[in-house]
């Protein structure tokens, strides 16, 4: 793991309870943490987190390697190791992401992406290991992203990350333009489908581009009709446009089809969209429809 902003203490504590033989921390600043089996490697200030992690993993003694980010806490770990690349379930706020995090050295995996470091590998199997991500934003991200982008002006991944930084800063027009560029130059996979979903969210809920949003969501559903998030967003768009009947039916699709998702598939999951949210919205639609019928009901004489 990398110590970027001194958020490693809880992570080390949580990992060590699972009997891990060696914990390697690469650090850019002095660090005062003591623990059995801890190896601290001082790193020079860097513009490439992936390269630093690759150096650290080269120095690892053990056959099996797991990667954690600072600020993460392991809340549950259960695995039976075979020669596979394993995905952990990373829980942040209401969302579960699946990321490749545990692998055998023989796979010879490398980290990629100098700013948002991640393993350059596809997951073979998602396992019952849940990691809570309580990390704060890295203040260097913007600066590193600019450098990365200047060095690789045509790299499509840069557009992706710039788009989501724009979205987090509520620069919606910038987000739409950057993510559209990214989508135009990408093959369809989970990441591009989710990017399209966020584009549809901005178009449908914030920009009054209902038809474009619906077109994008149809493409998302064509990729995976079991994503309650996609059905719920369609419901939200019709709700916003006061088509409460249709919204109800779309939320219902989200409830039923969402319940059919496999527990360990590779797609992310926004937990509330699988029960709580569609039920609340359906109740709201129902109440609006009942009240509107009352208003138009002719009074009996």
């Amino acid at each position: 793991m990398l110590n970027k902003n001194n958020q490693v203490a809880d992570t080390v504590k949580s990992i060590s309870q699972f009997g891990i033989d060696e914990i390697i921390i690469g650090t850019y600043k002095p660090i005062n943490i003591k623990h059995r089996n801890l190896k601290i490697v001082t790193l020079l200030e860097s513009n490439d987190y992936a390269a630093d992690l690759n150096k650290l993993t080269e120095g690892a003694r053990h056959e099996w390697l797991a990667y954690f980010k600072e600020g993460e806490v392991v809340v549950q770990a259960d695995f039976d190791l075979q020669n596979k690349i394993y995905g952990f379930q990373i829980l942040k706020n209401d969302i579960i992401l699946k990321e490749a995090r545990l692998w055998h050295k023989s796979h010879n995996l490398k980290f990629k992406n100098p700013v948002f470091e991640k393993l350059n590998a596809d997951i073979d199997e998602v396992i019952e290991t849940i990691v809570y991500d309580g990390s704060e934003n890295d203040p260097k991200v913007q600066h590193l992203l600019e450098r990365w982008s200047k060095a690789n002006p045509f790299l499509n991944d840069c557009y992706y990350y710039k788009a989501f930084i724009a979205l987090s800063e509520k620069r919606l027009k910038d987000f739409k333009s950057l993510i559209s560029h990214y989508l135009f130059n990408s093959n369809t996979d989970i990441s591009t489908t989710m990017a399209r979903y966020y584009l549809a969210m901005v178009q449908g809920l914030f920009e009054d581009e209902t038809n474009l949003a619906i077109q994008n969501l149809i493409l998302c559903l064509a990729e995976n009709p079991l994503m309650a998030e996609f059905w719920c967003l369609l419901g939200d768009i019709f709700y916003k446009n006061k088509h409460y009947d249709r919204a109800t039916e779309l939320y219902k699709n989200g409830l039923v089809l969402g319940s059919r998702r496999l527990k360990f598939d590779l797609w992310p999951m926004q937990i509330s969209k699988y029960q709580e949210y569609p039920n609340t919205m359906m109740a709201s639609c129902d109440s609006i429809l009942v009240n509107s019928r009352k208003i138009y009901m002719p009074t009996s004489r």
């Binding site: 009709p225 079991l226 779309l250 219902k252 699709n253 039923v256 059919r260």
Partner: protein
């Protein structure tokens, strides 16, 4: 059959069972049996809820 057209039909008229049958048949023809089965579950849920709302309407009409 283009799947986006089938999903478009569902978005246009999400109550119509016929559109879900089209979607199920699409997945069956592609050999995606798990998805076909999931759509079948949705069809069944919708059939039950359509029947119960028909019954309610009949009751309130009688």
């Amino acid at each position: 059959m283009d799947i986006t057209k089938v999903i478009y039909k569902i978005v246009e008229n999400p109550k119509s069972l016929a559109n879900y049958v089209l979607l199920r048949d699409f997945y069956t023809n592609c050999g995606q049996e798990d998805l076909a089965k999931s759509i079948d579950v949705l069809i069944e849920v919708r059939r039950v809820s359509n029947n119960s709302s028909d019954a309610q309407q009949e009751q309130s009409g009688s």
